[in-house]
C-alpha cells in the first residue's frame, strides 16, 4: 500500500487575520494567478433558548478530517482549473467574532475561484468530521449541527 503524505489542515485555536495576510502575500510570486477567492467562517454570538453563545470548542477526528480535507482539495483541483487551494480549520476554543475556517483558492480567472471556494466550503460542512460544542457564559453547552 502506498503511503501518501497527508497535509495537516487543522489549526489549534482561532485563525488570525495575520495568518491570512501571510498566506495572501505568499501568492504574490505566482504571477500566473489573476484571481483569489477566500471564504472565512466566523463564530456567531447566536442566542439559543435565551442564552448567548460565547464561543465554540471544536474537536475533530483528526486523521480522518485531514484525509477528507485532502480528498476535497483534490476533487476541487480536478473539477476546476486552479493554481492553488488551501484549507485551514480550527480545533479547540474559538470565541465569538473569531475565525474558525479559512478556504483560499487561486486561479488565472475569477469564475474558477468562485466555484472552487464554494464547492470546498460546502463539502467541508457536509463531509469533514469536525464537531462543535457551543459554549454559554454559564458553563453549559449545546452541540452544533450543520444544516
Amino acid at each position: 500500500m502506498s503511503e501518501k503524505k497527508i497535509k495537516n489542515s487543522l489549526v489549534e485555536g482561532p485563525i488570525t487575520p495575520e495568518k491570512i495576510a501571510k498566506s495572501i502575500a505568499h501568492h504574490q510570486v505566482k504571477t500566473n494567478i489573476g484571481a483569489h477567492d477566500i471564504f472565512l467562517g466566523q463564530v456567531r454570538a447566536d442566542e439559543i433558548e435565551g442564552k448567548q453563545v460565547v464561543g465554540i470548542d471544536y474537536s475533530a477526528y483528526a486523521e480522518m478530517a485531514n484525509k477528507v480535507f485532502d480528498e476535497i482539495r483534490e476533487e476541487a483541483f480536478s473539477k476546476f482549473d486552479l493554481t492553488c487551494g488551501h484549507i485551514y480549520h480550527s480545533t479547540g476554543i474559538v470565541k465569538t467574532g473569531e475565525l474558525c475556517l479559512f478556504v483560499f483558492t487561486s486561479s488565472k480567472h475569477r469564475q474558477m475561484t468562485f466555484d472552487a471556494t464554494r464547492f470546498i466550503t460546502e463539502a467541508i460542512k457536509e463531509r469533514v468530521p469536525v464537531f462543535g460544542k457551543e459554549l454559554f457564559e454559564d458553563g453549559k453547552h449545546v452541540w452544533k449541527v450543520n444544516k
Partner: protein, 78 residues
C-alpha cells in the same frame, strides 16, 4: 479481533469515553453497534454515523480484522 472504538463530541459525552478497545468477534457494524449501545445506553438517543478505518460505512459493513471504528455525531465544521 481487537477493535479500537473512538468517540467524538456527543458520542464521547454519551459514553463518557474518547476511546476504548473491544475484543470480540463481531461480523458486522450492526452487531457491534448493538453491543456498544447496550454498554452505553445514552448513545441510543444520539444520531451518529460510523467510520471504519476513517471511511464512513453502512451497518452491513463486514468487520474483517483489527479495525479503527469511530462513532461520529453530526458534523459542525465551518
Amino acid at each position: 479481533m481487537t477493535l479500537t472504538i473512538k468517540y467524538f463530541g456527543m458520542t464521547a459525552e454519551g459514553s463518557g469515553k474518547t476511546e476504548e478497545s473491544v475484543h470480540s468477534n463481531y461480523s458486522s457494524i450492526a452487531e457491534l453497534k448493538k453491543d456498544i449501545i447496550n454498554k452505553h445506553p445514552k448513545l441510543e438517543k444520539i444520531n451518529f454515523k460510523i467510520a471504519a478505518n476513517q471511511t464512513i460505512v453502512n451497518e452491513d459493513y463486514l468487520l474483517s480484522g483489527d479495525e479503527e471504528i469511530a462513532l461520529l455525531p453530526p458534523f459542525a465544521g465551518g
